[in-house]
Amino acid sequence: MVLIVLAQTGAAPADLVAARSQMAFSLGWHIVVACLGVGMPAITMLAEWRGMRTRDPLYTRLAHTWARAMGVLFAVGAVSGTILSFEMGLLWPGLMGRFGDVIGLPFAAEGIAFFIEAIFLGIYLYGWDRLSPRVHLLSGVPVVVAGVASAFFVVTANAWMNQPTGFTLAPDGRAVHVHPWSAMFNPATPAQTVHMILAAFMVAGFLMASVYAVGMLRGRRDRYHRVGFLLPFAVAAAITPVQLVVGDWAARVVADRQPVKLAAMEGLYETGTSVPLHLGGLYLDDRLRYAVPIPYALSLLAHLNPHAEVQGLAAVPPDERPPVNMVHLAFQVMVGCGFFLLALGAWAAVTWRRRRDLPSTRWFLRAGAVSGVLAVVALECGWITTEVGRQPWIVYWILRTADAVNPAPGIGLGFFAVLVVYTVLTVASVYVLRRLAGRDPDEPETGIPVPAAPQEGSPLRADA
């Protein structure tokens, strides 16, 4: 499939692959940190609020610890987001030159959200001892709102790439008569944005819970670890069932509006009626092999009618089909992770109802420890489904990815540079975060957490 796409490009074929990989890699990296940026402030505020209500210093300590990690994560999120806005132009000038204005409004709005987030995060992180507890808690609200808003805005731009509306194409290929609001609120926007925002809370919640599950597996079963696990886990587990319903909604939007993507997700070659749903399998020579069929299920899920017609890949010429195996696999893995996380939440809920406690087996903790990883896997697979499933189009049915890429010589080298830079960034971030997490959580509560960076007498000075 890739080869077919490549045949049409002005850029060297290897450069197109490299540019796509570079985009995918830096987006895939940013999105994990961005999800923490969206979800963590709310969960941290929840702990702070419980601390105020119950007067239990344990919650306040948790809130302090999480706020400290947020400081590092936001810095990394900001710089990894910046490179993305550069890459939109330097990798895809064909997209930005023709349609940059059509998707400009959400990015302008996002800029405002970033400012608001930066200001109030500063107040929240630096203001513990300057504000009354109530006001301090409230100062977190704009951070949450702005985080959710920035996720919303940027995903509307992506939804537009899936469902380009709000403009007319002039003969010279430029977009004219632009209606920026209808471009922003295109048919793919509602389901995609809701699905993304819920995903951000799931990822943040399960990841935070994982940290404490690992701690408990290592024998630290104190109350601090239990609450540190329970609070984010409860948030994420409560969202999971809603997320699956929204995912189903997203799939139905795809079935109606991007039938080729749906066919790739399901590995369906021939258009047909009463189509079964296939679990697993490998797509070879235009057929899905070794899959487990569930009769009528695809027709039913996609169009709420067991006999509905579902379009297959054969409906479009081969050079307009995405790589099937990757999309099919990614979709199945996302759904699989979703159901696993649902089951895990249900298990916890049942034991909690019975005896006000979490399941006591180590297996539950093991599952809790991987839940964060699985949420991230679901997230990445969802994006692979969306983005690879749209290929060979960068703007669905309007502009091919190959025609949007920067034809400048040497562009492909960027990918390798990005790989190196991000490897270093990942190692350093993980190292620093682990050290933050590893600081003794049991020190006496002073109302002020251990300064990670005592600015008075900076560490540099202290060591000197």
Binding site: H64, V79, T82, F86, G94, G104, R130
Partner: protein, 353 residues
């Protein structure tokens, strides 16, 4: 004022804000690099960390603001710019990544070798980034980025006398701004010696900037005569203003008028940027005017409306932030530039603006 000129003006405001605020944060990185050994350089490094820690991230948002407004307002010009200049842009992006994260990591780490490592990454990238940003400006000014996708030379568009001159000028002016701001910060917090140290550095970098400004016209007339003519034509008043403010700043710094020099130094730098803009106006790229490159009017209006609503939200928020952190709490906390406190509570804290 048409929507197009309003948009251009907004871009200009964003660019100046970025240069004056984030530029100084970069300059501080250069001084961090040159501060000296672990022991002798410690006070200056602590001062730098103290001053830029809370603000650099919010200052950085101005760049994102400029980039997204550029592609929203003038898409074809943005495509030409980004595709031809992808090499310096990539290097700038890497510089930003290294700088921001290394700075946050250095604050969150406690061992000397880590602080040295992250500190070095922070300082080096602080030098590299402004140079390439300047080179990008030089490429645009000298008319070496033609309209169309990747139509310019990906190396020689920015690696040429004008680009190098602009890169060096960016490096020197940002370090000059940083020294000027830091002098006042240090003085206010009673760090006499550090203040003197930065004053000396400010004077040196100010003189270097002056020398570059004197050599500049010769380079420009030789390398980019068209731009040089327009700069001394359209942009002439700004050029004069910049020279006047520049000399005034040196005098004020010499006489230890640290608050006043902040203003004049900022005005000198702003004038250079404005002069560049006026010299190019109405052309964004050779043969492509702002009007021709402009987005659909509906887009410009919608974006301007969104930004106005945003301003209504932002201004009171910023004001609260400022007031909040100017008020001292127990041990009297020295206020820092941008009004944020020493972050005694968090690791690499997200800064207030």
């Amino acid at each position: 004022m048409t929507a197009v000129t309003a948009f251009l003006a907004l871009l200009g405001v964003g660019l100046v804000a970025y240069a004056l605020l984030a530029g100084a944060d970069f300059g501080a990185g250069l001084w961090d690099l040159l501060a000296g050994g672990d022991v002798s350089g410690a006070p200056a490094r602590a001062r730098i960390e103290h001053s830029i820690g809370p603000v650099w991230e919010a200052n950085h948002v101005w760049l994102i603001f400029v980039i997204t407004l550029f592609w929203t307002g003038f898409p074809p010009a943005f495509a030409a710019f980004a595709s031809t200049l992808y090499i310096p842009l990539t290097l700038v992006a890497f510089g930003i990544i290294a700088r921001g994260s290394a700075f946050a990591f250095r604050k969150a780490s406690t061992e000397l070798w880590q602080q040295r490592l992250f500190g070095a990454a922070f300082a080096l990238s602080s030098v590299v980034t402004p140079f390439f940003l300047g080179a990008i400006a030089g490429a645009l000014a000298s008319g070496r980025v033609p309209p169309g996708i990747a139509k310019g030379d990906v190396v020689h568009s920015w690696w040429n006398p004008t680009g190098v001159l602009a890169g060096l000028l960016a490096l020197v002016t940002t370090s000059y701004l940083a020294a000027v701001y830091l002098t006042r910060d240090a003085e206010r917090d009673g760090e006499r010696e550090v203040a003197e140290q930065f004053r000396r550095r400010g004077l040196i970098s100010g003189v270097v900037a002056g020398v570059l400004a004197l050599v500049g016209p010769f380079v420009l007339f030789a390398d980019a005569p068209h731009f040089a003519e327009r700069l001394t034509g359209n942009g002439f008043p700004e050029l004069v203003a910049s020279a006047v403010f520049g000399i005034a700043s040196l005098v004020l710094l010499w006489r230890r008028r640290y608050v006043a020099v902040r203003v004049t130094a900022a005005l000198a730098v702003a004038s250079i940027i404005l002069g560049w803009g006026l010299a190019q106006y109405p052309y964004l790229l050779p043969g492509l005017t702002a009007q021709q490159a402009a987005a659909d009017p509906a887009v410009l209006r919608a974006a301007l409306a969104a930004l106005s609503v945003g301003a209504v939200l932002l201004i009171p928020s910023l004001a609260w932030l400022f007031v909040l952190f100017q008020r001292g709490v127990h041990p009297p906390v020295p206020a820092t530039r941008g009004g944020a406190p020493p972050g005694s509570l968090t690791g690499g804290g997200r800064p207030p603006g």
